[in-house]
């Protein structure tokens, strides 16, 4: 054991001297080695991250390596990044999950443990129902639900998930809170559950519904953001239909707090170039998200105001810790 501790002590000493020398040169010219980008989720988040990192590598002159660290609704990846050195070589592909993981008590730290770099994209949830209901807009939907016996079964991807929060906020704004029951089911199954009539409505990402809308099987009644979405241009927003709600999921980049400004500036510029590229714009149409670059300062303000919003919402739903 003595051997072990001395060994460890020696190692730490050797390493810290290595870090000091590295630190000296790092300030000279960022970036001089690959940047490690933590990805918190699979699926769409991962696909966008892989594309973004490739485009950013070109702009930055050093590879940006997407490294998947999933689990705990983002808690695992955020914890990893918080523990790394704030030198610009460790960044996280973040999202609103920073607020939900904090407010549900999964991680101790909150958004202020990170320096925002840039917002990159947004995804706007959409409300869909089976076409056989005949509902085509939110008014018909509200009237139909109020006329129903029992509760409307609304599919979500799990308690505390983003689709759950969006559904809760939307139905609250529409005054239907007492008429809905939330059903959790596996990811990506929303269209089939709607088609089979096992659930009555679902809030999910528009890309999942696109093909079913085209075939006439499902009706998408509204999207919850302030603007319409590219994959479903005919679907009005909830605001257009008189329901005051503006919820969208953003994704962006952040680094541990204390990352030097020049590194943040270079990463922000690389992200801006990547988002403006044709490849990124093209992919956004296919996958169903919106490119939405926003600089570090504005992004920081957005994160702050969103965090307050989701904190209150989770409190109301009894999910906050």
């Amino acid at each position: 054991m003595t051997f072990n501790t001395t060994f460890k002590g020696g190692l730490i000493a050797a390493i810290s001297s290595a870090i000091i020398t590295l630190g000296g040169t790092a300030q000279a010219e960022y970036p001089e080695k690959p940047v490690d980008m933590t990805v918190l989720f699979g699926g769409t988040a991962n696909t966008i991250a892989q594309l973004l990192s490739e485009l950013m590598s070109d702009a930055l002159g050093q590879p940006v390596v997407p490294v998947s660290r999933t689990g705990g609704g983002g808690a695992v990846g955020y914890s990893h990044v918080v523990g790394t050195a704030p030198d610009g070589y460790n960044i996280v592909w973040n999202s609103n999950s920073i607020s939900t993981t904090h407010h549900t008590g999964r991680v101790e730290f909150d958004y202020s443990a990170f320096t925002p770099i840039a917002r990159v994209s947004t995804e706007i949830p959409a409300l869909a129902v089976n076409a056989s209901t005949g509902w085509t807009n939110l008014d018909e939907f509200t009237a139909g639900v109020n006329a129903m016996d029992g509760k409307l079964k609304v599919g979500i991807s799990g308690k505390g998930s983003f689709t759950h929060l969006t559904s809760a906020a939307l139905f609250d704004a529409m005054g239907l809170t007492d008429k809905v029951a939330f059903i959790s089911y596996g990811k990506g199954k929303a269209p089939v559950e709607l088609l089979a009539g096992r659930i009555d409505a679902a809030i999910q990402w528009p890309g999942q519904f696109a093909s079913y809308v085209e075939s006439g099987d499902l009706n998408v009644l509204a999207v919850t953001g302030s603007e319409r979405v590219g994959v479903l241009p005919d679907v009005p927003t909830a605001q257009e239909q008189g329901v005051d709600i503006n919820i969208s999921m953003w994704r962006g980049l952040a680094a541990p707090a204390g990352t030097p400004d020049d590194a943040v500036a270079k990463l922000q510029a690389a992200a801006e170039t990547a988002v403006a590229s044709d490849a990124f714009q093209e992919a956004s149409k296919n996958i169903g998200f919106s490119p939405a670059f926003m600089n570090a300062a504005d992004f920081g303000a957005l994160i702050e105001s969103d965090d307050a919003f989701y904190g209150t919402l989770l409190q109301q739903l009894g999910l906050a810790k």
Binding site: G71, G73, A75, V76, S79, P191, A196
Partner: protein
């Protein structure tokens, strides 16, 4: 016909054929290396497809998927360490065959029946995609729960000499998978406040631990002189299965293909359940069930046919409904989406020629896999000549790389170590370990579907006896358990008479 010719012209370009071959090769390497899994290979292949045309891009991904699924049997047969959960059932008879010096026959058979199962399911899919997807839509949470319960009942056939110990192993597997965040309510379970425990135990990590670590412990505890130890004769001969063997088992192959295709078509199930059901089915209908588990070729044919038949089956919900069956197909889905091929009911209207191109790519992938493996088997069998200690080191490092690569987390390496050592102790106590894997594969689905079904019915249990499909699967599960108890009883009385 024009459509078909157009599809051929898309899929038969040198670039497409090459990328399918590359995918098949990479998939085979990942699938056949203990520890590495083809889900990771798919994740690595995805960015490579960004700049390609849709058909070569999908060819690369489908090639990787199919190569990986087929490759999983290689280390299962040679080392007793399955390359994917779908190959866990193949270990039961494939590895004993290796010990009897018949490794190459087992490997050759596995490849040929895999190709058969894959092509068969593709044909079924092409002919009946609409019909099957209609049936698949009817599979709600209650139906899937019943199917998974039926799958669990096959534990009985995997227990070896003690039903009780097999059930214990199954329950341990179920318990392990409840650790982490509960997906339905979002609450942590048995995490002791640790952030790393929130990610739960990954199925692949646990599988690597259960099969590889006991092997490494045994091999590395022979601490005497390393070279003198290897006195056992290593019989390495290359002998491919004879046509007669395949013809004799044609009917079994067809049945297992149907089973695999059907299960693959149901969203949320997958290769592992299909291969276990097929194994159990083969054993139950065999004239000599007592030979199973000791190197019976039928015990290789059944699971390998079924798990590759799943590849065609999963394409049905993937393409016609846009639902991925497992993490691997989720990456294939991402590949489709990024190339603007949005799966769903409108797919066949908008992208018919690309879809047919993908079908051709699947056939090509199987041709590549077959030719790679015919060469590969001759190389793979020489793994058996490597001294056990050296092999154990390689397996240990590969498993660490593999476990780490899934989520890039040291937690997974700790989990692999802990689960592996526990599995070693269980093996020493004569507890069969295959049911642990079955419990882990099916546990999360079993729980989540049951809870979703109860939510759908507002807590009313009649959802489980009003659907005929549910009742059929319950009946099948009861039948399997009943037959098992009967044969246990008969064995006992026989012994008392002696």
């Amino acid at each position: 016909m024009d459509l078909f010719l157009h599809a051929l012209s898309l899929a038969l370009t040198p670039l497409a054929i090459g990328s399918i071959g590359l995918g098949a090769l990479v998939g085979l390497i990942f699938g056949s290396t203990p520890g590495l899994t083809f889900t990771v290979a798919l994740a690595l292949a995805l960015p490579m497809t960004f700049s390609m045309d849709p058909v070569p891009a999908m060819g690369l991904l489908m090639g990787t998927y199919i190569g990986g699924m087929t490759g999983g049997s290689v280390s299962a047969i040679l080392l007793g360490i399955p390359g994917t959960p779908s190959a866990a059932a193949t270990v039961l008879d494939g590895h004993p065959m290796t010990k009897q010096g018949e490794a190459s026959i087992a490997l050759g058979t596995a490849v040929i029946v895999s190709v058969f199962g894959g092509i068969f399911s593709l044909a079924v899919m092409i002919v009946s995609v609409d019909l099957v997807s209609q049936v698949a839509i009817g599979f709600g949470p209650a139906e899937i729960f019943a199917l998974v319960l039926f799958g669990m009942s096959t534990i009985c056939g995997l227990c070896g000499d003690s039903l009780l110990k097999g059930l214990i192993a199954g329950v341990l597997g179920l318990m392990i998978m409840t650790i982490g965040i509960d997906t339905i309510e979002g609450v942590p379970r048995m995490t002791f406040g640790s952030v790393n425990m929130l990610q739960g135990v990954n199925l692949l990590v646990a599988m690597i631990g259960v099969f590889a670590v006991p092997f490494v412990i045994e091999a590395l505890s022979e601490k005497t002189n390393t070279s003198a130890q290897d006195t056992r004769v290593v019989r390495v001969k290359v002998e491919l299965p004879k046509i007669g063997l395949l013809i004799r088992n044609a009917w079994l192959m067809i049945r297992c293909s149907v089973l695999g295709t059907g299960i693959g078509a149901i969203p949320g199930t997958g290769g592992a359940i299909a291969s276990f059901l097929a194994y159990d089915h083969a054993k139950r209908f065999s004239k000599e069930p007592e030979r199973f588990g000791k190197g019976n070729i039928e015990g290789v044919i059944a699971p390998e046919t079924a798990n590759n038949a799943v590849t065609g089956g999963t394409l049905i919900p993937l393409l016609s409904l846009g639902i991925p069956g497992d993490p691997a197909t989720a990456i294939v889905l991402a590949g489709l989406m990024i190339h603007g091929i949005t799966p769903g009911p409108a797919l066949f209207m908008n992208h018919a020629s690309e879809v047919y191109g993908i079908y051709v790519a699947v056939v090509l992938a199987y041709i590549w896999v077959l030719s790679f493996q015919m060469v590969g088997i001759r190389i793979f069998v020489h793994v058996l000549k490597i001294p056990r200690e050296t092999l154990a080191f390689a397996v240990l490092v590969l498993c660490a790389i593999g476990a780490y690569s899934i989520r890039n987390s040291a937690f997974d390496i700790y989990a692999m170590g802990v689960i592996g050592v526990l599995a070693y102790l269980l093996i020493a106590m004569r507890v069969p370990i295959t049911p642990i894997i079955l419990g882990m594969v099916l546990g999360p689905t079993l729980e989540n579907e049951f809870r979703t079904a109860m939510m759908l019915s507002s807590g009313n249990a009649d959802i489980f006896y009003t659907s005929p499909t549910v009742l059929i699967f319950f009946a099948l599960a009861l039948l399997v358990i009943g037959l098992q108890l009967k044969s246990e009883f008969m064995r006992k009385t026989k012994r008392q008479q002696q």
